[in-house]
Amino acid sequence: MSIETLTAPPSRWNGLLPLWRQTPLSFRIGLIILLIHFVIAATGPFWAPYGYSQMGTGRPLSGMSWAHPFGVDQLGRDIFSRVVHGAHIVILLSLSGTLLGLIIGAVLGLLSGYVGGWFDEILQRFLEALISIPFLVLALIAIAAAGPELSGNPVLIVLVVALVYAPRIARMARTVAVDIATRDYVTVARLRGESAWSVMRRELLPNATSVLLVEFALRAGYAPVLIGSLGFLGFGLRPPTPEWGLMISENRALIMITPITVLGPGLALASLVVGLNLFTEGLARILGRTVKLGVQ
């Protein structure tokens, strides 16, 4: 009887713990911050002390207290409850917008890099033009173009995030595709007579996964800021939605009296982005890639 059969088979968790210990510190801290945010987003609406638009929860414009950790706004709404209720909105919109941008960008970029020729040339010029418009400006004119009926619609926000990200992700995916397209296994697949779509799905995509994962994390880290900026400028979600950027803008006039009503949502937004950025940096290190945080 060999020694291997005598020792107990390692359980799933025994295998995960050493793996966890090997991950960079930034990744672990980032993941923990993200988990806290996700748990709040998923369960918050069930335990938040008040409703997100419930008025008269306390004396209007009162500051930090045990009953109201982030104070009370002009309308008597509890800011802590609003921040908690807003978590799932911010996270869901950010992730779905980034995911949509990733899908569109990856398909366009990989196909364009693989197919090449005039299709690639025209698409690249077009994407370059979209990237040349500062992302916030592009987002603002897209919202203006959608017209007043759609403004404040969460679906529009998701589409706008995707519109801003897709060209940037496509450019990244194209670089990968151009690099892989000359490899032998791609040539073999092409000679087998596979279509461009099938080559992309079976050969290019699996090889671009790590690049796309890092790209997704990097973009997702900026999406809450983009959504918050739109809300802050009055082009994002509509009141009384408890979106954090919108709340910062609503309570900014009261900053002289109750700074905590601005700093509370600000803390939520900044900590989510810190978590995403740390996670991205760690993920890039695990996958053996470099990432420049803050590159828009």
Partner: protein, 316 residues
Amino acid sequence: MTILKLVIRRSLMSVVTLLLVSLIIFSMLEVLPGDVASRILGRDATPETLEQLRTELGLDRPAPVRYLSWLGGLVTGDLGNSLASSRPVSEILAPRILNTVLLSVYAFLIYLPLTFIPALLQALHRDRATDHAFSVVTLVLLSVPDFLLATILLLTFVVMLPLLPAISLVDASSSAWEYLRAMTLPALTLAIVMAVYAVRMLRDNLIEVLDSDYIRMAELKGLSRRRVLLRHALPNALVPTLNVTALNLAYLVGGVVVVEKVFSYPGFGSLLVDSLQLRDLPVVEATVMIAAFVYVVANLIADVAAILLNPRLRNG
């Protein structure tokens, strides 16, 4: 010859990009969502006023014709008239652009020490407490949105230490001192956002250079650390940082939109937001084209500089 060819090719690409930008903006704002006149008039529209506005704006002409005449106007500097105030767009834009240029210059002046001092300190004390502390600070600052940073600075320098004005309203009659006071907080916000990103880049570049053979050579010669860092490492780490500066200029074009709005500074960014709210399309279109123009030119300069600085191409 190769260099000249590369530069010309690169410049032509920039022109094509700008043409496409104009096409995208025009189609997004004027073609896609149906009728501009009814969007301008909104709920107050009656068939008569709609018809009148359409003729006034030349909307009865087909879209390609309108695009070409708009583009022709852009190239010759005729940006049309504002819908909100019926003044020429160029007359509205000029003082706003001047204000934003002043603000950007001020921001860049603050940005330089904010970038170089932390990056050099980090490189000198790499992997020690100073380095780690700055890395944490820059990572956190990187994650603070510019509108929140602006609000926190406002809280600090206006509410807690009442040194600066909360609202940066200036006009032609303001004195230079008033201008400087008004611009300090918006400029500081922009400078911090730009510096945070550049510090991280410059630190990595410096450390990469410090690990190279010629630096070890300089150290072996017995030169002081300070001299090695400033005379040998810094100039070589600056080249990759050039790209960051171009990217930062690109950020600035978008960043002024939020920051100027927070401080009510009458620049080009707040003009864009205001005219979007008023649905003043000629002003919006001109502003967006200028933003894209700055971005494209900044990237062109960075690329051309990279071509010129590349020794392999220089001798070609």
